[in-house]
C-alpha cells in the first residue's frame, strides 16, 4: 500500500529534489571520499606549514633505515636515511599545495575570461581561442613543461604557470559552450533589456550564478592534474630537490631499495599520490553529477 503525505511547510512551496534524489548511487560516496581527502590535505598542509610534525623530517637515524611501518616511534616507518616517513609525507604536501592553487587560479580565472570573450563577444575571439586550444593540444604538456624548465629554471612555480595556462582552453571551452547554451534562453537579452549593466550580467548572472558549479569542478580536476605533474617532475628529478621532501622524489629515493625487498619507503608516497589524485578526481566527477546533473562519459 502506498501512502501519500503532504509535506510540512507552506502549501505550494517548491522544495526541489533533495541531494539524495539527484545523486547516482555512488556519487555521494565519491564526494564524501573526495571531501575527506581535501580535508586531510588541507589539515596536513597547515601542520606542515606550522611545523607541527610527529618527527623532525630531516633527522637521520642510521641505525634504523628502511624500517617497516609501526616501528616504535615511526608510525609509517623510515626511509633509506632513517628519516621519519610520516613527517616527510606530511611535509611533501608543501611541494604541490600552493603551486597547485596557483595553477588552478590561473586556469580558472584565465579560462573564464577567455570563455566569456569567446561566448559572449564571439567573432574573432572565438577563432583565436580555438587556435590557442589547437596549438596547446599539439604539444604534449610534459614537453612544454620541460621546455620551460630548460629555458628558465627548475622552479615548481614556473611549472605551475605552464600547467595553469595549458588548463585554460578546457575551462574556456566549457564556459563558452555554457554561454552558447544560455544564449538560447533569452534571459541574458532580457537582463540587458531591463537595463542591467554589462558587467553585472557577465559577472553575476553568467559567471557567478550559472557557471560557479562548473568552475568548482574544473578547479578540483585541475588540482588533481597539478599534483600529478608535480609528483612526476619530482620523480624525474626536475621538480623539488632532495633533501626537501616531495611525494615524487620520495618514490624515486625509495625505488633504489625496492628490488632488495624494501618496498615500503617507495610504496607509501605512491599510495599517497594515488589516494589523493583519486580523491580530487572523484570529487570533481561526483560534483559534476550532482551539480551539473549529467554524467561524464
Amino acid at each position: 500500500m502506498r501512502r501519500y503525505v503532504q509535506a510540512p511547510g507552506p502549501i505550494g512551496e517548491y522544495s526541489g529534489l533533495s541531494l539524495r534524489q539527484r545523486a547516482g548511487p555512488l556519487d555521494l560516496v565519491y564526494v564524501a571520499y573526495g571531501l575527506l581527502v581535501v580535508a586531510v590535505v588541507v589539515a596536513s598542509y597547515l601542520f606542515g606549514a606550522f611545523g607541527w610534525l610527529p618527527h623532525d623530517p630531516q633527522a637521520m637515524n642510521v641505525g634504523l633505515i628502511n624500517a617497516a611501518p609501526f616501528t616504535s616511534g615511526h608510525l609509517l616507518g623510515t626511509d633509506f636515511l632513517g628519516r621519519d616517513l610520516q613527517a616527510r609525507l606530511i611535509l611533501g604536501i608543501q611541494a604541490y599545495f600552493l603551486p597547485g592553487l596557483l595553477a588552478i587560479t590561473i586556469s580558472v580565472a584565465g579560462g573564464s575570461i577567455l570563455g566569456v570573450l569567446a561566448g559572449y563577444k564571439g567573432g574573432w575571439f572565438d577563432t583565436i581561442i580555438t587556435y590557442f586550444d589547437n596549438l596547446l593540444d599539439s604539444f604534449p604538456r610534459l614537453v612544454l613543461i620541460l621546455l620551460v624548465i630548460a629555458a628558465f629554471k627548475p622552479d615548481i612555480y614556473y611549472v605551475m604557470v605552464v600547467v595553469g595556462i595549458t588548463g585554460m582552453p578546457v575551462v574556456a571551452n566549457l564556459i563558452a559552450g555554457k554561454i552558447a547554451f544560455l544564449r538560447q534562453k533569452s534571459f541574458i537579452e532580457a537582463a540587458h533589456a531591463l537595463g542591467l549593466p554589462a558587467h553585472t550580467v557577465i559577472l553575476k548572472h553568467i559567471l557567478w550564478l550559472n557557471c560557479r558549479a562548473l568552475l568548482v569542478i574544473q578547479a578540483t580536476l585541475g588540482m588533481a592534474e597539478a599534483i600529478l605533474v608535480e609528483t612526476s617532475l619530482s620523480y624525474l628529478g626536475f621538480g623539488v630537490q632532495e633533501p626537501t621532501p616531495s611525494w615524487g622524489n620520495m618514490v624515486q629515493a625509495g625505488a633504489n631499495y625496492f628490488l632488495q625487498g624494501n618496498f615500503w619507503p617507495s610504496t607509501a608516497p605512491a599510495l599517497a599520490i594515488l589516494a589523493t589524485i583519486l580523491g580530487f578526481q572523484l570529487l570533481g566527477d561526483g560534483l559534476n553529477n550532482l551539480l551539473e546533473g549529467k554524467r561524464r562519459k
Binding site: P10, G12, E13, Y14, G16, Q184, K185, S186, F187, E189, A190, A191, H192, A193, L194, G195, L196, T200, H205, L209, N210
Partner: protein, 369 residues
C-alpha cells in the same frame, strides 16, 4: 506635454547574409507614432520585421550591420530625445537607385555611442517583456532576487528591505498568489504564466514610460495566454502605461490595442485605429490585412470542419525585395488598371480616411500622396 511618446521615422535595420552576399532588409523604412497612454499593436507574419523594430527601439540589435538609418524619438522629462542621435557618423551607407549597396560601419564606435544614449533609457524608460518567459528569467536565481535587482537599479528603493517590500508589492500587482512566498521561488518551480507575470512585474517595477511587449503570449498555454492578456489589460487600465504590443495573433492585438500597424516584408502596409482596421466591412483595406483576417478560423469553419484559410505563397524573402509592391507576388486583388504600378513602383502610405493609411495602389489616395 508632448502628446507623442515614441516616434520612429524611416527606421532601417538590415542584416547581412554571408552565404548570399546580400542584405536582409528586415526593417526597411518603418515609421510609427505612439501617443502617450495608447497601445499600438504591430501585427504581421513571422519575418515581417515586427520584433526587429522593437529591438531596434530598445537598442538591442547586436548582429551587423544592424540599424543603419532613421530616427527613434522618445519623449522623456519634457524633452524629445533621438535615441539614434549622432550615430549616423559611424555608418556610411552607399545607395544606388534607392537600394543600399554597401554599408561600412564602425561597430565598436556605434555600440559605445549607442550604449551612452541608452543608459538610463533601457529598462528605466523603455522596458521589455519577451516570449517564452521561462527562459527570460535566470534559472539560478530566485524571482525575488531578480526583481530586487531591477528595483534597486532603477528606483529610489535602494535599501535591501524596502526593495524587497516593493518587489512583493509588484508581485501582488501582477496577481501572483501569496507573493511573499513566491518571492523565494526559482523560475523552474513556477508555471510559464507565473514566470511571465514575474517578468511583467520586473519590467513595470522601474515605472517605465514605454512597455514593449514582444509576443508576450507566445509559448504559453491557450488558457494562460488569455489570462496574461487580461492582466495586461488590467495593468493598462491601472497605470495607463504606453505600450508597443507585438504579436502575430490578431485576437491578442484586437483585445489590447488602440491603434494597429500591419507590417509586411519590413514595411508598414496599413495603420489606423484598431476599430477601423479590423472592422468587418472596412471601406478601405490592404489586401494583406484582408488575407490575415480571412485566415482567422471562425466558429463556422471549425463547425463545418472545412479547411483553414491560408495566405497563398510564402512570406516575402527580405533579401530579394521586388521593385514594386512587396505583396504583389501574393496579392489576389491586382487589377489590370493598376498592374503596372504594382509590379514596378512601391506604393506610398496613402491616407484613405483621417488617421487611416494604406500602402496600396487600389486606393486613389496612394496616387495623391
Amino acid at each position: 506635454m508632448d502628446a507623442l511618446l515614441l516616434a520612429i521615422e524611416n527606421l532601417r535595420t538590415y542584416f547581412y547574409s554571408r552565404a548570399k552576399r546580400a542584405f536582409i532588409r528586415s526593417v526597411d523604412g518603418v515609421s510609427l507614432d505612439v501617443a502617450r497612454g495608447e497601445t499600438l499593436g504591430i501585427v504581421g507574419e513571422s519575418g515581417s520585421g515586427k520584433s526587429v523594430t522593437a529591438l531596434s527601439a530598445a537598442g538591442l540589435v547586436t548582429a551587423g550591420p544592424g540599424v543603419i538609418g532613421g530616427r527613434i524619438e522618445l519623449a522623456s522629462n519634457g524633452a524629445r530625445r533621438n535615441l539614434l542621435d549622432g550615430l549616423e557618423k559611424y555608418a556610411r551607407v552607399t545607395e544606388r537607385d534607392g537600394r543600399v549597396m554597401a554599408v561600412e560601419k564602425d561597430e565598436r564606435g556605434w555600440r559605445k555611442h549607442s550604449e551612452t544614449l541608452m543608459t538610463g533609457v533601457r529598462g528605466k524608460e523603455i522596458a521589455m517583456i519577451f516570449q517564452n518567459p521561462r527562459s527570460a528569467l535566470n534559472p539560478y536565481s530566485t524571482i525575488g532576487k531578480q526583481l530586487v535587482e531591477t528595483i534597486r537599479l532603477h528606483t529610489n528603493f535602494k535599501g535591501e528591505r524596502e526593495a524587497k517590500e516593493r518587489a512583493i508589492h509588484w508581485l501582488d500587482r501582477v496577481r501572483i498568489d501569496s507573493p511573499a512566498l513566491r518571492f523565494d521561488n526559482f523560475p523552474f518551480g513556477m508555471s510559464g504564466g507565473m514566470c511571465q507575470r514575474a517578468m511583467i512585474a520586473m519590467a513595470l517595477s522601474a515605472e517605465p514610460s514605454l512597455l514593449i511587449a514582444d509576443e508576450p503570449t507566445t509559448g504559453l498555454d491557450a488558457t494562460i495566454q488569455s489570462r496574461i492578456v487580461d492582466l495586461l489589460a488590467e495593468l493598462k487600465a491601472e497605470t495607463g502605461i504606453t505600450t508597443l504590443l507585438i504579436s502575430h495573433d490578431i485576437s491578442v492585438i484586437q483585445r489590447l490595442s488602440d491603434r494597429i500597424a500591419v507590417m509586411y516584408g519590413g514595411t508598414v502596409v496599413e495603420t489606423g485605429r484598431a476599430a477601423e482596421v479590423l472592422a468587418p466591412q472596412a471601406p478601405a483595406r490592404h489586401p494583406y490585412t484582408a488575407a490575415l483576417l480571412a485566415s482567422i478560423p471562425s466558429a463556422e469553419t471549425i463547425r463545418r470542419k472545412s479547411y483553414l484559410q491560408a495566405i497563398e505563397g510564402e512570406v516575402l524573402d527580405t533579401i530579394d525585395v521586388p521593385r514594386g509592391c512587396r505583396f504583389y507576388g501574393r496579392c489576389n486583388r491586382v487589377t489590370e488598371a493598376i498592374r503596372d504600378n504594382c509590379a514596378g513602383l512601391e506604393p506610398p502610405l496613402g491616407e484613405v480616411a483621417p488617421g487611416h493609411k494604406v500602402r496600396c495602389w487600389l486606393y486613389p489616395a496612394a496616387g495623391k500622396a
